[in-house]
């Protein structure tokens, strides 16, 4: 994993035994994860009693570097060997790596969900309601006899759900269904790779 210089520096501060001892390290790691996962940014997340003896500025540096590291690790879906090799290069001892990794495992799913919620996605179709109508006559022609489909798709987008309504003839509906089948087939093919 590639890390920028400030992150490396901050993490080295965290590995240093003289500034952060074992117990405070555990508390620090927990508060880092908590600060990322809390829905509202909590300014007091670093005000734990065990962390009072750590220099405030250093504490904030370690906190920012650690949060960046955690997010990068989740983004790249890093496995155990990648994380432990990066932390070893930054002079972390084996127990601290273990502590960090166990917390990481615990919170990984939530962080993944958090990262997955950033972005755009098109709306999803949840339901379909249809009506078949049959035109028998109109003003110009005495005999029309043509079926029409009125289709309304119930989609769910980010946040709101809306209805997408349209009418189509039989051929257009067949076309649509054919395209949907093609899409399903290509998805199958992609999964066979």
């Amino acid at each position: 994993m590639e890390l920028s210089e400030s992150v490396q520096r901050g993490l080295q501060l965290g590995a240093d035994r003289s500034s952060v001892d074992q117990r405070s390290f555990q508390v620090l790691v927990d508060s880092c994860f908590r600060s990322l996962l809390s829905s509202q940014g909590d300014p007091a997340v670093l005000d734990e009693p065990e962390l009072k003896h750590v220099d405030r500025i250093q504490l904030k540096q370690i906190h920012s570097a650690a949060t960046t590291f955690i997010l990068e690790a989740v983004k790249q879906n890093a496995d155990r060997s990648a994380i432990s090799s990066s932390l070893e290069e930054l002079t972390f001892s084996a127990e601290r790596i273990e502590i960090f990794y166990s917390s990481y495992q615990k919170h990984k799913k939530e962080l993944e969900r958090l990262l997955a919620s950033l972005g755009r996605r098109p709306a999803q179709i949840n339901d379909v309601s249809w009506r078949l109508q049959y035109n028998t006559k109109n003003k110009q022609l005495d005999k029309v006899n043509q079926p029409f489909y009125l289709i309304s798709l119930n989609t769910e987008g980010p946040g709101a759900s809306e209805e997408l309504s349209f009418t189509c003839t039989t051929e257009q509906l067949q076309d649509l269904v054919g395209k949907l089948k093609d899409a399903a087939k290509s998805l199958d093919r992609a999964s066979q790779m």
Binding site: Q12, L13, I57
Partner: protein, 658 residues
């Protein structure tokens, strides 16, 4: 042999033959098993051939005979070159069966090789992981939204989506320089890179002001609390990190390619680059904001917008030096505004009918336009006049300067002439004095020239020496630069290779775990290596024995040759004396007998040797034949023959009856 059998049995099981668990060598194969194995192999190798063959021997003898013949034919069609017939299947013997099965197993298409033939490229890995993810998602069945359990949440029920919104964050910098001993060997933080950190917070030397430190320590909230929402905090942290990484990489590339060549320290290089960029920006802005009157209308409009933008930056400075020329457009604006200002009053004054007012307005408009045209032309003329006058002014100034120069020269000349005129009355004395002065001056010049030469020579030496040193240093530094570049290249290449090798190693480890654990490869490889070692040893021994044999043969030849020659010589010698002396004749007879007997002895020894060899060969043949189980096969053949005879009799009886 057991290994070969194991491999064969394993391959046959893979094809589909039901080989029992206790059968572990080809000796135990019954005819039925042999037939089934062969048929299945042929079916896999060539489905067309094998379809017609049954997998078990039918009970009737003639049917078995027919099946055997067709099977032999099929094997020959597949390509088996050895001798094969119905007897190989019905009355089998081990070596033939082994060679046949080995041939068939070799011919089996290598499906396993195709499956493991996956490329190890990065895109292939990515595609495979994408395919695996799609497969897991497809495997989960769709559930309507009212019934969704939390385990469906990930793929089907997507929560609130946030857009990737970034907010600037403040990160606390590193503090006093005394902290450097804690930070093992990293360079001090360069404030040029912290994009969102306030640059004015640091003074020139790079240390942080104490007020800023206090702010960082006491007031600054942790980074996750600085953004307005959780999602934007996450997004901002990620974006900042990516920006830092890319800036570091850019600087690296730039420094390695251009910076080293310029031979400046990093700070100097950076400051030079920033000043250069600033100058360029200023130039561009100035050229864009200072339009020329003949420019096209569109450009002048955008230029006027740019000047308005610049004016807002400057505050309220009206008509700055940039805008001295102005454009048609701005003038036109000014005029239309003034015209409107002038036109409003007469309209207000006269409240006559609209038609009248309009006509009047139009008249006024045309007159004002005429005025405007006139004024424009006057302005142009005045501008042209001004230019002309400027040019003449410059010319006159030039002339004035030249005249003054000439004046000064003439004055000098006049001074000289006046002095000589003064000296004329006392001509001879003055002439002598002048001559002595001239001589003294010339001597002084010579003196000075020699002194100058004395000084000049060592200085030139010094200069040349320093120049040489400088050029040497240039060469040295060039060489070192190229070395540094090549080292950078090597570093880059080896890091890339290391990364690639790690990737392939990880991939191969996962593939190895995925591969089915069949007959272990290590047993094969060990066995192969053992066999190779054995063969090498045997080859050495054989060569040694061959050389020994050659030596012995040469000796034998030598000795026989010597023997013949000595015998011939002694024979002659003794024969010559034998005519005269009786004892010599007896000795000659004994000699001949001795020679004869020794020859016979040698002959018998050679015969014994050949016979021993024949015995060994025959023993080997006996062993090979013993493996053929010919006796049991003969009995079986006799029985089958009797059975066929009976069947024939039965069929003949049936034919006669029906």
């Amino acid at each position: 042999m057991e290994e070969v059998d194991k491999i064969l049995i394993h391959a046959l099981r893979h094809v589909g033959t039901e080989v029992g668990e206790d059968v572990d060598s080809l000796k135990r194969f019954t005819s039925d098993l042999i037939v089934e194995a062969v048929v299945r192999c042929v079916r896999v190798i060539e489905p067309g051939l094998g379809g017609a063959l049954p997998t078990s021997l039918p009970p009737g003898m003639s049917a078995r005979f027919r099946v055997g013949m067709s099977l032999a034919q099929a094997c020959q069609d597949v390509g088996y070159k050895g001798e094969i017939g119905y007897q190989t299947f019905l009355y089998s013997n081990e070596p033939e069966i082994r060679s046949l099965l080995m041939f068939l197993v070799e011919k089996l298409p290598r499906e396993r090789a195709e499956a493991s033939d996956q490329s190890a490229g990065k895109s292939a890995v990515l595609q495979r992981s994408i395919a695996a993810a799609i497969r897991t998602q497809l495997a989960a069945s769709w559930v309507p939204p009212n019934c969704r359990l939390p385990l469906h949440c990930e793929t089907q029920n997507h929560g609130a989506l946030h857009s990737f919104h970034v907010q600037p964050l403040t990160f606390p910098h590193c503090t006093k320089t005394s902290d450097k001993k804690h930070l093992k060997g990293l360079p001090p933080c360069s404030l040029h890179f912290t994009r969102n950190a306030c640059a004015p917070c640091s003074d020139r030397t790079g240390s942080v002001l104490s007020e800023v430190q206090d702010y960082h320590r006491d007031v600054l909230p942790p980074v996750t609390a600085q953004a307005s929402s959780q999602a934007s905090a996450v997004a901002s942290i990620l974006e900042r990190h990516a920006a830092e990484l890319s800036a570091a990489q850019e600087w690296d590339n730039d420094w390695k390619s251009q910076g080293l060549l310029s031979r400046l320290t990093p700070q100097e290089y950076r400051s030079r680059k920033s000043s250069r960029l600033r100058k360029r920006i200023e130039e561009q802005l100035r050229s864009a904001a200072a339009p020329s009157p003949e420019s096209a209308f569109g450009v002048s409009r955008s230029a006027s917008e740019l000047t308005e933008l610049l004016q807002t930056f400057k505050g309220s400075a009206p008509s700055a030096h940039v805008l001295t020329k102005g454009t048609h457009f701005t003038h036109a604006q000014k005029f239309t505004f003034t015209q409107e200002g002038a036109a409003t009053s007469p309209v207000l004054a006269g409240r006559q009918s609209e038609g009248d007012a309009q006509i009047r307005q139009q008249e006024e408009l045309s007159s004002l336009q005429q005025q405007f045209q006139q004024l424009c032309s006057e302005v142009d003329q005045l501008a042209a006049d001004i230019k002309h006058l400027n040019v003449t002014n410059a010319q006159v100034l030039d002339e004035l300067k030249q005249r003054e120069l000439r004046n000064a020269e003439e004055e000098e000349k006049m001074q000289v002439k006046k002095k000589t005129a003064d000296l004329l009355p006392d001509a001879e004395n003055n002439l002598l004095k002048l001559q002595s002065l001239v001589e003294g001056g010339a001597k002084r010049v010579v003196n000075l020239a020699s002194q100058w030469e004395k000084h000049r020579a060592p200085l030139i030496e010094e200069y040349r020496r320093l120049k040489e040193i400088c050029s040497n240093k240039d060469l040295e530094s060039n060489r070192k630069l190229s070395e540094i570049k090549s080292l950078h290249e090597k570093i880059r290449v080896s890091t890339e290779e290391a990364k690639k090798k790690e990737d392939t190693y990880k991939q191969l480890v996962t593939e190895l775990e995925r591969l089915p654990k069949d007959a272990s490869r290590s047993a094969y490889t060990q066995r192969i290596l053992e066999i190779v070692g054995n063969i090498k040893k045997q080859k050495e021994e054989i060569t040694k024995i061959l050389s020994d044999t050659k030596e012995l043969q040469k000796e034998i030849n030598n000795l026989t040759g010597k023997l013949d020659r000595t015998f011939a010589v002694t024979d002659e010698l003794v024969f010559k004396d034998a005519k005269k002396d009786e004892s010599v004749r007896k000795a000659y007879k004994y000699l001949a007998a001795l020679h004869e007997n020794c020859n016979q002895l040698i002959q018998t020894i050679e015969d014994t040797g050949t016979i021993l060899r024949e015995i060994r060969d025959l023993e080997e043949q006996i062993e090979a034949e013993n493996g053929n189980k010919t006796v049991s096969n003969l009995e079986r053949i006799l029985d089958d023959y009797k059975a066929i005879r009976q069947e024939n009799a039965a069929l003949a009886a049936k034919v006669r009856e029906g």
